[in-house]
């Protein structure tokens, strides 16, 4: 009887130990006392294989850190800080002349570029497209391998999308968007 009870207790301890021990590598969300955490499956890896934007000779890609970009292109004209609910990190919007860069926290990058939005014709994509170009000019520059929905032409490449919002047959907005961070 005693032996059996001891074995039973051992089984319980082993079960509990295995529950505890197997957890090292697969924490999916909550990180301790605050119930917060990241989404490992959707986290950018710090490199981008998609379309890139260029400003002052610097290539800017979504899913990469903002800090090295700022070092090269200089400080923005304004910066807006949007802390997320419940301490889940802070989004930033950096405004430059003719475009803005949005960042979000990612697992390995504190401020990862989530989107680059061209808002005026002061700047253009490396392929020569900006606000006011026609849909045909976008097709000539980027080809016809795109999807279209509600006036948004979407070119998917790697872990990002390049969107052209067309209104009255001209480009109204150009958006480099991370798949993981938007």
């Amino acid at each position: 009887m005693k032996k059996k009870l001891v074995s039973l207790m051992l089984v319980v301890m082993v079960c509990m130990f295995s529950l505890v021990a197997c957890g090292g590598g697969d924490d999916k969300g909550n990180d301790g006392n605050n119930g917060g955490g990241g989404d490992a499956a959707n986290t950018p890896n710090g490199s981008s294989s998609g379309y890139t934007f260029e400003y002052k000779g610097t290539s800017i890609s979504v899913n990469t850190a903002i800090e090295p970009v700022i070092e090269k292109i200089g400080e923005p004209s304004s910066k807006f800080e949007a802390p997320s609910c419940a301490g889940q990190g802070t989004d930033f919007i950096y405004t430059y002349s003719g475009f803005e860069i949005d960042t979000s926290p990612a697992e390995n990058i504190t401020n990862a570029i989530a989107a680059i939005i061209i808002v005026s014709d002061e700047v253009e994509t490396p392929e020569g497209i900006t606000i006011g170009n026609t849909k045909e000019e976008v097709e000539a520059a980027y080809g016809t391998d795109y999807t279209e929905s509600n006036g948004m032409m979407t070119y998917a490449k790697g872990d990002m999308k390049l969107n052209f919002l067309i209104k009255n047959n001209v480009v109204d907005s150009v958006q480099y968007m991370s798949n993981a961070l938007n």
Binding site: N30, D39, C85
Partner: protein, 353 residues
């Protein structure tokens, strides 16, 4: 006779062993689950609701734009509205729907305010936000439905049933608080309101990114329809509300859709974005650059809201209820104490920096 004795002995042994195993797993679970009353507190309010007497004539359901922007004490002191905010971080519209269903099982308020910021989200966003809403709900069919509607691809229903499966890896992050708060968490809110006292002016607010399609998803409308139907079924006045904030952008196209929905369903819609009547100053009344209000802003906004509710819905003034008045006396004292404590902490933080 001997066989019977052996059977009962074995039965007893199995039962006792079962009880021991279950108790140990239960204790382990209580120890390992995150304690929302320390650290990030935004997941605590959903559970705190059940501790308040179900005699509210106003229930407010929504995300941080509700639980950080509205002071139930002002609604009580100035208008006699006994309100509770069932708020949680980035609460989605289907979660609001099932929280309403859950609430109506406990009480039938005169009016319900739903924050419609969540209409922009057609998909579950993040596990940690889901958990801040769902873990605090008491078990019911509403909670089960809310879990299934909310789960991201990586989540499992069983991890909600047995949180130990989800949190077992917290064993090396355990702190003294996990032991101290194993069985009873400290309340963090006053009737669902989470007080903030800092000041950070709204500056450089960006314009919203142009969207290809501003139409809210069918899924969101489906749940809004359910909310409308639930309120009608229970004779509760439904108010759709957009809380004041400067960011994220509440597009005019979204506003138009909500106006149209409210008109079609003969319900009220109150859009408080850029509403000068409220009297808010986003240089002084916000703690995070215009996303949410600090306590000063929340009190100004709550005054506006109380007046609006009285004139537009005729909600009852319950200040004649002696029992409620007594409860609110204590709550007012707690509120003032918390306010002083928070301002003291803020002053200390300022001195440190």
């Amino acid at each position: 006779m001997k066989r019977k004795k052996i059977f009962w002995r074995r039965f007893l042994r199995v039962t006792v062993s079962g009880i021991i195993i279950c108790s140990m797993l239960f204790l382990l679970q209580r120890l390992l689950v995150p304690k929302y009353s320390v650290g990030t507190q935004d997941g605590a309010m959903i559970a705190e609701y059940y501790d308040d007497a179900p005699k509210h004539n106003l229930i407010i359901i929504g995300d941080s734009e509700m639980y950080e922007n509205i002071s139930p004490l002002v609604l009580w002191q100035n208008y006699g509205i006994n309100c509770y905010i069932r708020g949680s971080a980035q609460q989605l519209i289907w979660q609001s729907c099932y929280l309403l269903e859950d609430t109506l099982r406990h009480e039938t308020p005169e009016a319900v305010i739903i924050n419609i910021t969540s209409m922009q989200y057609a998909e579950p966003q993040k596990e940690s936000y889901n958990r801040m809403t769902l873990e605090g709900m008491r078990w019911s069919t509403s909670k089960v439905k809310a879990i299934f509607a909310s789960m991201t691809e990586e989540e499992s229903f069983w991890e909600y049933v047995f949180p130990l499966l989800r949190y077992h890896s917290r064993w090396n992050d355990l702190s003294d608080d996990d032991f101290r708060l194993m069985f009873s968490e400290e309340p963090v809110s006053l009737n669902g309101y989470m007080m903030q006292v800092g000041v950070k002016p709204a500056e450089n607010v960006p314009e919203g990114r142009p969207l290809a399609d501003y139409t809210f998803s069918d899924t969101c409308y489906e749940y809004l329809d359910k909310i409308t139907a639930l309120c009608k079924e229970h004779g509760v006045e439904l108010i759709l509300m957009k809380s004041p904030s400067v960011y994220p952008v509440w597009y005019d196209e979204w506003d138009a859709q909500m106006k149209e929905y409210a008109q079609k369903n003969q319900i009220k819609y109150l859009n408080c974005v850029n509403n000068d009547e409220i009297g808010l100053n986003f240089r002084t009344d916000t703690f995070d650059g215009g996303l949410h209000l600090n306590v000063g802003g929340a009190e100004i906004y709550s005054n506006f809201l109380g007046k609006w509710l009285q004139s537009e819905t005729g909600i009852s003034d319950l200040r004649d209820d002696a029992e409620l008045s007594k409860e609110w006396e204590q709550k007012a004292a707690d509120y003032d104490a918390k306010k002083s404590e928070k301002y003291k902490e803020l002053a200390m933080d300022s001195d440190d920096s």
